[in-house]
């Protein structure tokens, strides 16, 4: 499943290791994409370093998303896709979060563009981002219960108990 590390993977991993040896927990390469697994406590600092370092210059956060590996533990895998516009390279930063404590530092101080991406993950997966300036639901109604993109949430929702919150239950009970 893993391939030999590309030149870019080596550059990123070396650069991060020389900055802080603990920042890189694992480097992997699959289908030409580099993934750097970062410890949860160091995510914000590592992202900041990726953005500022003259050798890396990952100035553009293109995407942030989550994968739920339920029932495995740690179940949540957060993926941040960074692009360096000057260097024309991509990298993926990954953080693992456990199901009973899904909290991670927000990347909004590093890239303001992370704001809505993190709100979407909070909305659909229930992961909390500490330090986020405006952590509210964004796509679902504010009174929605549960986090629909988690694997243990049924695809068709909860049919017998329509999941529309307090409002519905009040009006539907005789």
């Amino acid at each position: 499943m893993t391939e030999p590390a590309s030149k870019n993977a080596n550059v990123v991993a070396e650069c991060l290791r020389s900055w802080n040896p603990k920042a890189v927990a694992e480097v992997s390469e699959y289908r030409g994409e580099t993934t750097i697994v970062v410890p949860r406590e160091l995510l914000q600092a590592t992202a900041e370093h990726c953005r500022q370092d003259a050798k890396l210059q990952y100035n553009f956060l293109t995407d942030a998303t989550c994968v739920d590996r339920f029932p495995a533990e740690p179940r949540f895998e957060l993926n941040y896709h960074l692009v360096s516009i000057p260097r024309r390279e991509k990298v993926r930063l990954r953080v693992w979060l456990s199901g009973n404590d899904p909290v991670v530092d927000s990347l909004v101080p590093v890239w303001p563009g992370a704001n809505w991406l993190e709100r979407e993950i909070f909305d659909l997966f229930g992961i909390r981002f500490s330090g986020h300036p405006d952590l509210r639901r964004i796509l679902l109604p504010e009174d929605w219960e549960g986090y629909p993109l988690r694997r243990d949430y049924p695809v068709e929702g909860y049919r017998d108990v329509p999941n529309t919150g307090e409002l519905f239950r009040k009006s539907s009970t005789p």
């Binding site: 289908r31 994409e33 553009f60 995407d63 998303t65 516009i85 024309r88 979407e120 694997r151």
Partner: protein
């Protein structure tokens, strides 16, 4: 949903609720505007009215079934959505797509870019009071939709691009309508420009409106014409070429003014560049050749083979009953949609259904910059700024 309390005005200001039913929001977008006289002090976008859970639905479908869902996200760019999803799954599978199919894909996606820019131009102009441009734009868009109908049998939700290639061979006689379109279109683009580029009202409504600095645009993850109008020549077709874009000759139009007028000029120039690409693809597409990758067990076999070969019949049965299973892993692909960087992340756990499908939709992320564009501007400029980002709410909410 955002309640009015989050944006209560002070004694001096008032809160105006714009949308979700407002013709210039291009769908159902609600914006809470805090106004001081006619000046916008604060803007809070509120979305989710079109949320249909497409990403969740994809997890319950096989890889090929999910294609039809992608069409319905960005309904002005269905082929681009098909393409990004198929590229991601192909990357996951390690599939090589035949050149002929790649060129047809490029041609279709560029036609789609023109049609999307035409809808944008028409509706943006109508928002700002220029009615006739809309009629001109839709006249040409109709021609493009007829070409799509010829190729795929559908005008909008084509699902024409499939995993490993295309759904159908280009139909007999496809060259005439495309040729006719290529001959007609350059003069039509000139026509739009005579209506707008030097129009004093148009310049007055768009020039200097909705400025954003290139640094802010990058920090806010903006992409597409909005970023290029700020002077950053970031185009996925050049930076991370896909589907053989590296073989095509075209320029990436940029401006430095970074206002609504600059974005208009960038998009009009992009239409001309797309015409160049279509012409090159038109010449590169051979009349004969495969349009699907050679991958039994993943690509459905040809109908004739099924009648004569036992193996083909078995593969057909297996593909349509249980699907195919890519090896465990992830793939992230980005392409340049008419609105910006469209990304697709697909994760597989080795089963016939995707573990996770995520779309990085450019409208969603560009819309994030809206408060930055309009705060401090006049309320009439809000309309110009929403139009200039070119949002499609189906894609924003997914």
């Amino acid at each position: 949903m955002t309640t009015v309390e989050t944006a209560v005005g002070t004694a001096k200001t008032m809160v105006l609720n714009m949308g979700p039913q407002h013709p210039s929001t291009h769908g159902v977008l609600r914006i809470l505007l805090e106004l001081d006289g006619e000046t916008v002090v604060k803007a809070v976008p509120d979305l989710g009215y079109l949320h249909t859970g497409i990403e969740k639905s994809c997890e319950d479908k096989t890889y090929s079934q999910a294609i039809t869902l992608t069409d319905r996200m960005d309904y002005l760019n269905p082929l681009g959505n098909n393409l990004v999803y198929c590229l991601a799954v192909e990357k996951l599978l390690g599939l090589e797509v035949p050149k002929r199919a790649q060129y047809v894909r490029v041609m279709m996606v560029e036609l789609q870019r023109i049609s999307s820019h035409l809808v944008w131009l028409g509706t943006h102009a109508i928002d700002l009071g220029a009615m006739s441009v809309f009629l001109y734009c839709f006249r040409e868009r109709e021609e493009i939709l007829k070409i799509f109908e010829l190729f795929a049998g559908q005008r909008m939700m084509t699902s024409y691009i499939r995993i490993g290639g295309l759904a159908l061979d280009p139909p007999a006689g496809w060259r005439q309508p495309v040729e006719r379109f290529l001959k007609m279109m350059p003069s039509r683009v000139d026509e739009y420009e005579t209506l707008l580029t030097e129009n004093r009202i148009w310049i007055g409504r768009t020039k200097g409106v909705g400025y954003i600095s290139p640094e802010d645009a990058i920090a806010l993850s903006m992409s597409g014409p909005t970023l290029r109008a700020a002077g950053v020549a970031y185009d996925n077709r050049k930076v991370f070429p896909y589907s053989s874009y590296e073989e095509f000759n075209f320029n990436v139009p940029t401006r430095t003014d970074s206002d609504c007028y600059a974005r208009y000029l960038v998009r009009v120039a992009e239409m001309r560049e797309s015409l160049k690409i279509i012409r090159q693809a038109f010449d590169k597409i051979k009349d004969e050749g495969p349009i699907k990758a050679d991958a039994p067990g993943i690509i459905p076999p040809q109908r004739e083979k099924m009648k004569t070969e036992m193996e083909a019949l078995i593969y057909h049965f297996k593909i349509f009953t249980e699907g195919f299973s890519p090896p465990p892993g992830e793939a992230f692909v980005t392409i340049e949609s008419p609105r910006g960087e469209l990304g697709c992340f697909v994760a597989s756990d080795g089963s016939p259904k995707p573990l996770r499908v995520h779309f990085r939709s450019p409208s969603y992320i560009n819309l994030q910059a809206l408060p930055k564009l309009i705060e401090g501007q006049l309320i009439s400029d809000v309309i110009a700024c929403i139009g200039t980002i070119d949002i499609v709410l189906g894609e924003v909410d997914r």
